[in-house]
Symmetry: C2
Subunit: 337 residues, 2 copies
C-alpha cells in the first residue's frame, strides 16, 4: 500500500543496512525478494510483537527488541525441527520514534539473523498508532518434522531449559514482582532476550520416530494442551519435576504456577516414544533437558504431586472444586490457594 | 508470542475456515506450515493494511477488506512476473470487533485466495489498538523475473488499466471529492476492490528481454522513480497519453494529477526493449495497455505536454520554479496551479 515520503526515507535507510543477500538472488529493493529453489520441504510461520501488548519500550534496548522479534519466529521453526533460512519484516512505525531508534532495532535484528544464519530478504514499513514488528520466516526441514499431532500414550514428556523465568521477568518489569538484583537481571533477560532452541530442534528431528514438539510461548499447561488436542491424548505432569531456575526460586519461591502457566520462555516441549535419561538428552541436544511427565490415553492433562496425588485436572475437576477452569488465574488460585 | 483465551478462540474459529491444504503438507494448526519443495525460484513479499492509516471500517465491507489485504500482496508478485502460491496472515485485532466481522473478513480473504489459487497456510492473531492485516505471500517465477533495475534508455513505457481511479475513489470516501453516482461507484470500487494484474505479469514475463516492471501502489510518478533509480536511467512521460477512465474524467476532469501522483491502483508499469502497439499488447496481456512514455539516459523523469514542452522535471526544476520537489502536493500545485 502507498507510502509517505518519511516511510520511504526509513525504508531506504533500513534497506542499506540489510545489504545484498547470501541466499536470496535478489534481496530488498524490488517488489519481492527472489529466492533460489528449495530442494527440501519448507516451513513458513509469521508472528508479531506489538507495543504495549507484548512489550513496552522502556523495558529494554531497541537492539533487544529487534532480536526478540526474530527469536519468537525462530522458535516456531525450532519447534518443527527445521533450519530457518530467510525472513521478511513488516515494521509499523508510530510518531515519536526517531531514525536512531530504528537503526538500533534493525542492528539487533540483523545480529540475531546473522547468528541464526537467517537472511532478511525484504520488508515493508507502514505508519500505525503503535510500534509493531511482524516477521514472516521461512525454514527448511530435511527429515521428519516435529508435529503437534504425533504424541502417543506412553510417550515421555520433556522440556528444555527452565520454565517460568520469562513470566517472572515480565512480572518484574511490570512491577508485579520484586527480586534481588542478580535473579532480577537473569529473569528480566530471559524475558527480553529469549533464546530459540533451533539447534536442539534440529537434533530432536534426528530421533525416530519423530517426537511431537511445540515451543513454549503460551506456557507449558496451555502449549501441552495444543499437543494433546491435536494428538487426541492426555498427559500427567509431575509438579516436582518442573525445572525451576535458581533465580526463579529466589524471586518466586517453590510455587510452580508461573512455570506451568507463564509464557514466553521459548523452550521446547517434546514427547519421546523411547524414553531416555535426561542427562543423556541434555548432552545430545546441547541444552538442559528435564523429564516432566508422560502422555496418557485419558484425554486430559493432570498435574500430580510427589506422591502421585492429583493437584489439578484440566477437565475442570480439581480436587474439591466444581466449576470449570477457564484461565490461568483460576488454575493458579486452585493450585496455590 | 503469548495469547489470551479470546485470541485462541478467534484463531480456532479462523483456522476452521481455512481447512486442510492443497499445496501445504501441513496447514494451519501447528507451529509452522510445512510446504513441499519448490522447484522454481521463489518470490517472497510482505505488506500490511492498518486501520485509520490505509482504510476506515465504514468505507466498505469486511469481505472487501480481507480480499484487498491479499490483493496488495498479489500485486507485488504480479510485478515480478510470478505466480502466487501460499500465504500466512497476521491479524491484529482490537476491541469492539466481533467474531462475525472477522468471519466475513476471512471469507473475503478466502475467496480472493481461491480466485488467485493461493492457499492460506497459517497465521497468527494478536491484540492491538488498531485492526491490521499483514500478509506474507510466496510465489514462484519460472522464467526471468520482472525487475525494477532492468530498464534501459530507448525502452518504451506502458501501463495497464487506467490511472488515478483509486486515488479519486479514496478522495470520494474521504469527502474531499464529489462525483455523480455512477462514476462514484466505479472509482470507490477501484479503491476498495482493486485487481492485481497477476495474469498480465505472467504473460509479460514471457517477453524477451524480460521487461522492467513495478506495480503502481504509490502512484506512477513515484513508482516510475523506483525503476529509474534502480536502473540508473531517466524517462519522458507524455501527459496526454495517461489512460484516464470515463469515471475519472467525470469526477476529476482532465487534470492528470491524480493519475500521476495518486496511489493504490495496483496496475503494472513496464518497459519494453522492443516497442509494440498498445492494442496488440492489450490482446496479449488480457488487460488494457497504454503507451505512456520512454526511458531516457537523462537520469531524471520529465512530464511532457502534447507539443513536447516540459510540464514538470522531477529533479525539481519545473519551468519557472526553483525549489526542489518534496512531495506530490508541490508537484500538483505546480502542474495544476
Amino acid at each position: 500500500v502507498s507510502k509517505s515520503p518519511g516511510e520511504f526515507h526509513l525504508i531506504e535507510r533500513l534497506l542499506k543496512r540489510l545489504g545484498p543477500g547470501r541466499c536470496a538472488t535478489l534481496g530488498p529493493g524490488d517488489d519481492c525478494a527472489i529466492l533460489p529453489p528449495a530442494h527440501a520441504r519448507q516451513l513458513l510461520t509469521i508472528d508479531s510483537m506489538v507495543e504495549d501488548v507484548h512489550f513496552k519500550l522502556g523495558w529494554g534496548t531497541p537492539e533487544a527488541l529487534g532480536a526478540r522479534a526474530l527469536t519468537v519466529n525462530l522458535s516456531d521453526i525450532a519447534a518443527m525441527g527445521g533450519k530457518p533460512t530467510v525472513c521478511v519484516v513488516n515494521l509499523s512505525v508510530r510518531d515519536g520514534l526517531g531514525v536512531r531508534f530504528f537503526d538500533r532495532m534493525y542492528q539487533g535484528l540483523a545480529s540475531a539473523a546473522a547468528h541464526a544464519e537467517v537472511e532478511v530478504v525484504g520488508g515493508n514499513v507502514t505508519h500505525a498508532s503503535a510500534l509493531a514488528i511482524t516477521i514472516a520466516l521461512l525454514g527448511e526441514v530435511r527429515g521428519a518434522a516435529l508435529r503437534r499431532d504425533a504424541a502417543r500414550p506412553g510417550d515421555t514428556i520433556y522440556v528444555t531449559g527452565t520454565l517460568g523465568d520469562a513470566a517472572a521477568g515480565l512480572r518484574i518489569l511490570s512491577r508485579q514482582l520484586r527480586a534481588p538484583a542478580a535473579p532480577r537481571k537473569f529473569l528480566v533477560d530471559r524475558f527480553l532476550q529469549p533464546t530459540a532452541r533451533v539447534q536442539a530442534g534440529l537434533r530432536l528431528a534426528r530421533i525416530k520416530p519423530a517426537p511431537a514438539a511445540i515451543d513454549l510461548s503460551d506456557g507449558l499447561w496451555q502449549d501441552l494442551g495444543h499437543i494433546l488436542k491435536r494428538s487426541g491424548a492426555g498427559a500427567e505432569i509431575d509438579a516436582g519435576a518442573l525445572p525451576l531456575s535458581a533465580a526463579y526460586r529466589a524471586a518466586v519461591g517453590d510455587d510452580p504456577s508461573l512455570a506451568l502457566g507463564g509464557g514466553e520462555d521459548y523452550e521446547l516441549l517434546f514427547c519421546l516414544r523411547h524414553a531416555a535419561p535426561a542427562p543423556a538428552l541434555t548432552r545430545r541436544l546441547g541444552v538442559r533437558v528435564s523429564r516432566v511427565g508422560r502422555i496418557t490415553s485419558s484425554g486430559a492433562a493432570v498435574l500430580l504431586d510427589d506422591r502421585g496425588a492429583v493437584l489439578l485436572d484440566a477437565r475442570g475437576s480439581a480436587p474439591g472444586g466444581a466449576s470449570p477452569l477457564t484461565g490461568w488465574d483460576q488454575l493458579r488460585s486452585r493450585l496455590v490457594g
